[in-house]
């Protein structure tokens, strides 16, 4: 039996469909979740292969210690041998705790299904290499890097059971949450438009945002740009920022330093726009435009709008 933990407190994300799809390829899937998502949205997990969803509405999901107890309870309840998380903020906090509690090896940030020998690929050295991990314990835990597998609809809505695991209350108190409206969260974005110091100043980001809007992409930036405060810190991608692997990454006025590439080289298609033909980023690019961002980017936005209109 495969147990998949999903975080449904803000609705059911694409990452949840990915983890259920992944689990389904390994065996029969039961989902454990918490919070107040409606049963009508939770039952859609059945379409991706879940046979049943268990939801404990008394757990708010902010405390990893408490969630670990919930997941351990569910694993025991259904007799799971494998537990799957998304490698997001919650997964990164709960999966390691469960590893200790359950004495089960954790494959952290899996990018593929187990191969013939049972080894699972993960990115190591910030994406400069791939490591194959063997789990040596009989129970296994996998946290799946978002955007590593395509969600597949294979079934129909499933039953949703309300449960109470009686795990007590958490020790972490949420004081406030500041949430900008309408932005696409970077780690989940399929299309990303990113810019660096080549843009010269924060006042020039309009052309970047227009391009992003034209294809419904999230925006990102290089580290110096976040450091000088031209852009918010959460947009900083790279080895010391967020690691992303969107379908399309458009890099504008970014030189392509090794630490930047480390966070984006998992992108399926990379487009680089840079005035300098020697910019290292061109070596990592699929498509390159040697030219001035201030001319090229508005032209690209216009071309996309024209294409979309047809």
């Amino acid at each position: 039996m495969i147990l998949v933990y999903i975080n449904s407190s803000n609705g059911i994300s694409k990452a949840s469909f990915e983890t259920v799809t992944y689990g389904k390829k390994l065996g029969e899937v039961v989902v454990i979740t918490n919070g107040n998502a409606s049963s009508n949205s939770l039952n859609t997990l059945g379409e991706y292969g879940a046979s049943k969803v268990l939801v404990d509405r008394s757990v708010d999901g902010e405390d990893a210690q408490q969630l670990t107890k919930l997941v351990a309870w569910a694993a025991q309840e259904i007799g799971a041998h494998t537990v799957i998380f998304s490698h997001d903020l919650t997964g990164k906090a709960v999966a390691p705790r469960l590893s200790v509690r359950w004495k089960a090896g954790l494959v952290s940030g899996a990018i593929a299904l187990p191969d013939g020998s049972g080894a699972i690929s993960v990115n190591v050295f910030s994406g400069k290499a791939i490591g194959k991990v063997q789990v040596q314990s009989s129970n296994k835990i996998i946290s799946l890097l978002p955007n590593s597998i395509q969600p597949e609809k294979t079934g129909s809505p499933c039953t949703v059971n309300e449960i109470t695991a009686n795990i007590g209350s958490g020790k972490i108190r949420v004081i406030s949450t500041k949430k900008p409206e309408g932005e696409i969260p970077l780690p989940e974005a399929e299309l990303v438009v990113s810019a660096g110091r080549g843009l010269k100043g924060p006042e020039n980001w309009g052309i970047v945002e227009d391009l992003a809007k034209s294809i419904n992409a999230a925006t990102a930036c290089s580290r110096p740009v976040a450091d000088i405060g031209w852009r918010p810190h959460h947009e900083h991608v790279g080895q010391t920022g967020v690691a992303i692997r969107p379908n399309l990454y458009i890099a504008i006025g970014i030189s392509g330093a090794i630490q930047h590439l480390a966070g984006v080289n998992g992108s399926k298609v990379i487009v680089v726009i840079n005035t300098d033909p020697e910019a290292p980023f061109f070596k990592a690019a699929d498509y390159g435009v040697i030219g001035d961002a201030f001319e090229v980017v508005p032209r690209l936005t216009a071309a996309i709008k024209k294409f979309r209109a047809n």
Binding site: L98, S99, A129, Q136, I175, T240, Y287, E295
Partner: protein, 246 residues
């Protein structure tokens, strides 16, 4: 206030990565090791700031071999008071975390800080594992940490926003960008580091739960297709028909 900062080594960020022994072993030839940036820039510096404001003691711990002592001295030079090295090869996150947890069981701390992740194995595992082994609360990937008496106030980046949470000590926190600014050790710090206490302790017996069986390099990109800057219709066409991403 007793603070423990968990320090690991990682290859310098510009290192060229290669493997030996039929791709089963990381090739350390020519690799310069540094203190893992998250541990040094954020966890350690924030611990020192707390100590400077409130008093207390900052201890660093690393699970590693004698060859890792330069990174310990570096962390002492930045300002940690004392160091502990658990003399073992940290092959697996569970093994590493259980060693540190055992040390803390015998030597309690008010606050335990780790980095968000190591930049070589990028597991983001050790902090969570320590917290479970000690049955302590864990706030991961915190970008701001303030302390008032016995209460920690933390910020963390949640999907598309920022959350402020509170938790009582003792607790385990993993630290990310935003928490502090990198400090460059000065000459006095470097001199002082030579004589600060470094305790070496033997590991306990713990099984490894995972093992890296082999490595491979990601598929190299075929060479870049250049598009004339005047011809953005062509780029849109390629992204739609060839790459199929828009």
């Amino acid at each position: 206030m007793k603070i423990l900062v968990c320090i690991s080594k990682s290859p310098d960020t510009t290192s060229k990565i290669a493997f030996t022994e039929a791709n089963t072993k990381f090739d350390e030839n020519g690799i310069q090791y540094i203190v893992n940036p998250y541990d040094e820039w954020y966890a350690l510096v924030r611990a020192l700031e707390i100590k400077e404001a409130n008093g207390g003691q900052v201890t660093i711990v690393t699970v590693g071999a004698a060859a890792d002592e330069p990174i310990i001295r570096k962390a002492l030079a930045i300002g940690a008071d004392e160091a502990v090295r658990i003399d073992a090869d940290p092959k697996d996150a569970h093994y590493t975390a259980m060693q540190i947890a055992e040390y803390v069981k015998n030597n309690p701390f008010d606050l335990i800080l780790t980095g968000k992740e190591t930049i070589n194995y990028n597991g983001s595992q050790v902090g969570g594992m320590i917290s479970e082994a000690l049955d302590l609360p864990y706030v991961s990937i915190a970008t701001k940490l303030d302390i008032n008496g016995n209460i920690l106030t933390l910020e963390r980046e949640i999907i598309g926003g920022i959350q402020v949470v509170e938790v009582s000590l003792p607790a385990v926190i993993s630290c990310a960008k935003g928490m502090a600014e990198q400090r460059i050790p000065n000459m006095r710090g470097i001199m002082a580091a030579r004589t600060k206490p470094l305790q070496i302790i033997s590991p306990i017996a713990i099984e490894d739960l995972t093992k890296f069986s082999s490595y491979e390099m990601p598929n190299a990109k075929s060479s870049v297709k250049l598009i004339a800057p005047e011809n953005m219709d062509e780029l849109v066409n390629l992204l739609h028909n060839e790459a199929k991403v828009i």
